[in-house]
Amino acid sequence: MPSKPGATLTRMLALAAFAGSAALLSNALQPPSHRLPWSGFRPPSPVPPPEKGASLPQPPTPLVTPVQPARPTRPTPLVPPPAPRPSAQSTPPPAVPSSPIREISSQEAWKAFQGGLPFLDARRSEEYAAGHVAGAWCAPVWEADLEDRLLAFKAARRPGSEDPIIIYCSGGDCRDSHLLAERLLGEGYFHLLIYRDGFPDWVAQQRPMAQGQP
C-alpha cells in the first residue's frame, strides 16, 4: 500500500506511543523484583571503560585489596557521614585499614561469617532464592525495591557507620557488590567488605547456605 511521508511519520509516532503506553501498563503490573521506576531510579555510576591496553590482564590482587570507590552518585546520605577520622588525615597514602570499601578473601569472609557479621547479597532476587549464604540479606542492586530491603536490613541489624558489612555477588567480573558498596558508602557506611570470590566460592567451599525467598 503506498504511503506518504507524512503518513509514515504519523505511523512511526503511533508505534512509539503504543510502546510507551504498553511499557507504562506492563511496568505497573510487574512484581517488585521486575519493576523499574521511570524516574528517581538511582542506579550506580557507570563503570568507566578501562584505559587502552589495560583491559585484559589485571595485576595480582593481595589478600586484602583497598578499592577506591567512585564518587557516590547521591550526595544526600540517610546517615550523615561522620567527621574524617584522625588516622585518615595523618596518613596521606591510602592505608588499608582506613579504606571504606575493600575486598576480602574467602578465608576472611568465612571468619566474618563465624563472627556473626551481616552479609548482604547484591545479586538478583531469583538468584538469592535459588541459594545464598545462610543468614544473608537480599539486597538486589538492580531491583526497584532495593530501598525497602535496605531499610528492613537497617531496622533489623541497626549497623553503625563503622560496623563491618560483608557484601557479595557472583565473583569473577560481577560488579553488583561494588555497586551496592558504593551506594552504602553514599549512605554513610564506612566499613564495607566485598567478598571478592562471591557466592560461587562459598558453594565450592561447602559453607552454610540457605534457599528460598527473602
Binding site: M1, P2, L15, A22, F41, P43, P49, W142, D173
Partner: protein, 164 residues
C-alpha cells in the same frame, strides 16, 4: 535489479526475518526490565537517569515493530524504526569495541557469563549481524519506496485518464 528488489517474495522474507528477530529480542527484555537496565548500564554510554526509561521503552518498541513487520502493516514506519534501532546498536557496540570495553550484548536478555576476550569477539559478530539486518531494512525501505512511486504513478495515470 529494481524488479528483484521489489519482488514480493523477497520483501515477505525480509520483513518476516526482521520481525521475528525483533519479537525474539523483545520478549525476554519485557519479562525482565532490571536485567536489561543492567545490560544498558554495562555499555557505559548513557546517563543514569535514562536507564529506566530506555529499559522500559526499547523492548516494547521492538515488539511493536516486530509485530508490524510480521503482520505486514505499517511496514515502512516499522522498517524505519528498526533501522534506527539497529544503527544505534551498531554504534553502541562499535564505540565499546573501539575502546576495548567488553560488554554483554543484552540483545536477547541475560546471557551466560563469558570472559572478556569472548565478549570482545562476540561484539564483532554482533556488529556484523546487525549490519546484515540493516541490509534487510534497506530492502524493505527500497521496496516500499518503489511501491509508493508506483502507486503515485498509477494515481497520476488514473487522474490523467479521467481528465481526457
Amino acid at each position: 535489479m529494481r524488479a528483484w528488489v521489489r519482488h514480493p517474495g523477497v520483501t515477505l522474507a525480509a520483513r518476516l526475518v526482521l520481525g521475528l528477530v525483533f519479537l525474539a529480542a523483545a520478549l525476554p527484555k519485557i519479562a525482565d526490565p532490571p536485567g536489561f537496565a543492567k545490560a544498558i548500564w554495562g555499555y557505559a554510554l548513557f546517563p543514569a537517569w535514562s536507564l529506566g526509561p530506555l529499559a522500559l521503552l526499547l523492548p516494547w518498541l521492538e515488539l511493536a515493530c516486530g509485530l508490524a513487520l510480521c503482520l505486514g502493516f505499517w511496514v515502512r514506519a516499522a522498517a524505519l524504526w528498526t533501522g534506527a534501532l539497529l544503527l544505534s546498536f551498531c554504534l553502541a557496540l562499535g564505540l565499546n569495541l573501539a575502546r576495548r570495553h567488553p560488554v554483554d550484548c543484552g540483545c536477547f536478555g541475560a546471557a551466560a557469563p563469558k570472559t572478556e576476550a569472548e565478549r570482545l569477539a562476540d561484539m564483532r559478530w554482533l556488529i556484523l549481524r546487525d549490519a546484515a539486518l540493516l541490509l534487510l531494512v534497506a530492502q524493505l525501505l527500497t521496496a516500499t519506496r518503489l511501491n509508493q512511486e508506483l502507486g503515485d504513478g498509477k494515481e497520476a495515470e488514473e487522474s490523467s485518464g479521467m481528465g481526457r
